[in-house]
């Protein structure tokens, strides 16, 4: 009785096994520690979409002969505790050849030393803190541009166009990311000879910035430079406009989100922000990527694109070294040169940080547009 019930199942299983292609392919796992829940969940969702798109694309293209990539994506809940747990799982249980992530720089300073000790290559795709990430060791690499690579360029491009001489600076001082952004803004403004007429701070839970903005605007700065997460950024922009400020506002990477325009509405017009991804770039790699994401029904942002490139870089390293092992990926990273990616031609700097050209966006007609 039991046998006869199982027989069709067994037959179906046999049929399936026969129908699927010969298992000559080696499955190679790439791990990802992403913040799918918690405060950074919005970034994690974009990164997940980018990683899956890249893995599917590379498997379909067959550029890695005999290798099938598999993404093992785990949620770190935006916390260091779970980030560490995820890294140890990916390293010891899933035995991945490389790890993409983690989403937050703060988490990375706790997790990346584990990968360094175990000898597992890490590709940071959204860590922007200038110091303390790739410094951890020779297994830690980075695709994302640091604030130090994006903000000075954005400020210079903006000055060439707008010719400002004085700046008012506002930043969130209770967040690792916005604080790091501020340090970069400060030194960049000094290097350009722009006079900082006032510096004000706020905290993440704050929703009213009128006191700080009034103090800053009283000094009549030519430009307002702001380092804030997107949840604060829209409020700051809207309130600055309400206080009658009509001049330019330049934001850090936190401004780099469609949510800014959605929340601040008309007030966001004229806001400038540096970006790692020039989404209207006409290079073939970018056009193909935009088309691919459109076909998958996903609206990509910078974080999605950087995660996509993270997988691309790992795959290219395997191709270049001819090995799909941890050491092979690391050896391949040294050879990655001018790889065509949606971010532009990609290479690593000797510091293991990513190197490609950033762009400057301006909000115009309710959309981010690349400033020419």
């Amino acid at each position: 009785m039991a046998m006869s019930r199982l027989a069709p199942l067994a037959a179906a299983a046999a049929l399936l096994a026969w129908a699927s292609p010969a298992p000559a392919q080696t499955v190679v796992k790439i791990g990802a520690a992403l913040s799918m829940t918690g405060p950074a969940a919005a970034y994690g969702a974009q990164q997940k979409a980018g990683i899956q798109a890249a893995v599917d694309q590379i498997n379909k293209s067959g550029e890695l002969k005999g290798v099938k990539l598999e993404a093992v994506i785990e949620d770190d809940a935006s916390t260091k505790e779970q980030g560490i747990a995820v890294f140890q799982r990916l390293i010891n249980k899933d035995k991945v050849v490389a790890i993409i992530g983690p989403t937050l720089s703060n988490t990375a300073t706790a997790t990346d030393p584990l990968a360094q000790m175990a000898g597992v290559p890490v590709v940071a795709v959204s860590n922007t803190a200038p110091k303390g990430i790739t410094d951890i060791g020779d297994w830690i690499w980075r695709v994302s541009l640091t604030e130090g690579q994006v903000i000075p360029g954005a400020l210079k491009a903006a000055q060439a166009k707008l010719g400002f001489k004085t700046a008012g600076v506002l930043y969130g001082n209770d967040d690792a990311f916005t604080q790091a952004g501020y340090s970069v803004m400060k030194s960049a403004l000094e290097a350009m000879g722009v006079k900082t007429v006032g510096t004000q701070t706020f905290a993440k839970p704050d929703r009213d910035y009128s006191a700080q903005l009034t103090a800053l605007l009283g000094q009549k700065p030519d430009i307002l430079v702001v380092s804030a997460l997107v949840e604060n950024a829209s409020g700051i922009v809207a309130q600055a406009r309400q206080l009658g400020y009509t001049g330019p506002i330049l934001g850090g990477n936190g401004f780099n989100s469609p949510a800014l325009i959605a929340n601040a509405g008309k007030a966001a017009e004229g806001v400038l922000v540096g970006t790692a991804w020039n989404k209207v770039s006409t290079e073939k790699a970018n056009q193909d990527y935009v088309a691919l994401m459109k076909a998958r029904g996903h609206e990509p942002d910078q974080f999605c694109t950087q995660a996509y490139v993270g997988v691309q870089v790992v795959a290219d390293a395997m191709r270049l070294s001819g090995q799909h092992t941890r050491a092979g990926v690391k050896a391949g990273f040294l050879k990655v040169k001018d790889l065509p990616t949606p971010l532009g031609k990609f290479s690593f700097l000797p510091s293991r940080d990513g190197d490609h050209a950033p762009a400057v966006q301006v909000v115009k007609d309710g959309k981010f547009q690349i400033m020419q």
């Binding site: 799918m36 747990a85 720089s105 703060n106 706790a110 030393p113 803190a129």
Partner: protein, 297 residues
């Protein structure tokens, strides 16, 4: 086989460490709760311990045992000037004042450039092992467990049940309460110092209000009638999110947001149906069985 075991240990090493760290933090809340004080400054104490220890090993080149001693002593000393005024408050007012203290510590660290503000201290040498964390936890458990049957323990129980009555019995309630606040601060500080030397980094945002809520939830879910409750609660709630990673695919749940939902549901069920905490489950079952046996007789 041996290699498999080594991998298994390496995979869950941090979970084991966090069971120990969270156990210590749950005990630190339990010390004040055991004499009826809802003191919620322990995230602040943990931060002071973590920063004190990390600064000592990184900037002063102090040996790790000394740094760990400082992680316990410094918060305990800070607890004295804090405790003298705030322990005059009761119930929710004490809770609010001590939460305020925790926030002051966090915001102080955020604005202190010497410790890198919000970016925190990074590249701290890893000196604490899982074994050491568990030894410290075992010592703390033994201390609190021995306290219970002692003269001290009876005094604390008296204060918890009725403070004015305890005072009229000649118990120096203020000193006992302050001593327990200091002990709790020392345990939280130890957890902080160990965590800093296990996870390579500390940042102020790791010691916010939500951290102290976590500690309180460990204690309440486990049960605060004995020292075992907070330990059990901390272990259970630390293992749960990690276990869900393995269980979620088997249950056909998408890992991620739903994982946290299941976590929350279990929490809610415990609070609603087991107000004495998870450790009361055994007693409940025994009662039920006894009642059924009586009916049958």
């Amino acid at each position: 086989m041996m290699e498999g075991l080594a991998d298994l240990y390496a995979t869950y090493q941090s979970t084991l460490a966090y069971i120990g760290l969270n156990g210590l933090l749950a005990l630190s809340i339990y010390t004040s709760l055991s004499c009826g004080q809802l003191a919620l400054g322990n995230a602040g104490f943990a931060a002071i311990g973590a920063y004190a220890a990390a600064l000592l090993t990184m900037n002063a080149g102090a040996p790790f045992p000394l740094a760990l001693a400082a992680a316990a002593v410094v918060p305990a000393l800070v607890a004295i000037p804090l405790g003298l005024p705030v322990l005059r408050l009761k119930g929710i007012f004490l809770a609010i004042a001590t939460i305020g203290f925790g926030e002051v510590v966090r915001i102080g660290l955020v604005n202190w450039d010497y410790v890198n503000g919000a970016q925190g201290l990074v590249a701290i040498p890893q000196k604490a092992s899982v074994g050491l964390i568990w030894i410290v936890l075992a010592a703390a458990t033994l201390l609190l467990w021995r306290l219970r049957g002692s003269k001290w323990g009876f005094a604390l129980e008296a204060i918890r049940q009725d403070e004015p009555a305890a005072r009229t019995m000649g118990i120096d309630t203020a000193s006992y309460k302050l001593a327990m606040l200091m002990l709790g601060a020392a345990l939280a500080g130890l957890a902080g110092g160990l965590e800093a030397h296990f996870t390579f980094m500390v940042a102020p945002n790791g010691f916010g209000f939500s951290r102290v809520v976590d500690m309180l939830v460990f204690a309440v879910v486990g049960g605060i009638a004995s020292v075992w409750g907070p330990l059990f609660g901390a272990s259970f709630l630390t293992v749960l999110p990690e276990a869900m990673r393995d269980l979620a695919p088997l249950l056909g749940i998408e890992p991620g947001p739903l994982r946290m939902l299941v976590n929350g549901l279990i929490l809610l069920a415990v609070i609603l149906f087991l107000p004495q905490g998870l450790v009361s489950l055994g007693a409940r079952w025994r009662e039920r069985r006894a009642a059924r046996a009586r009916r049958a007789a």
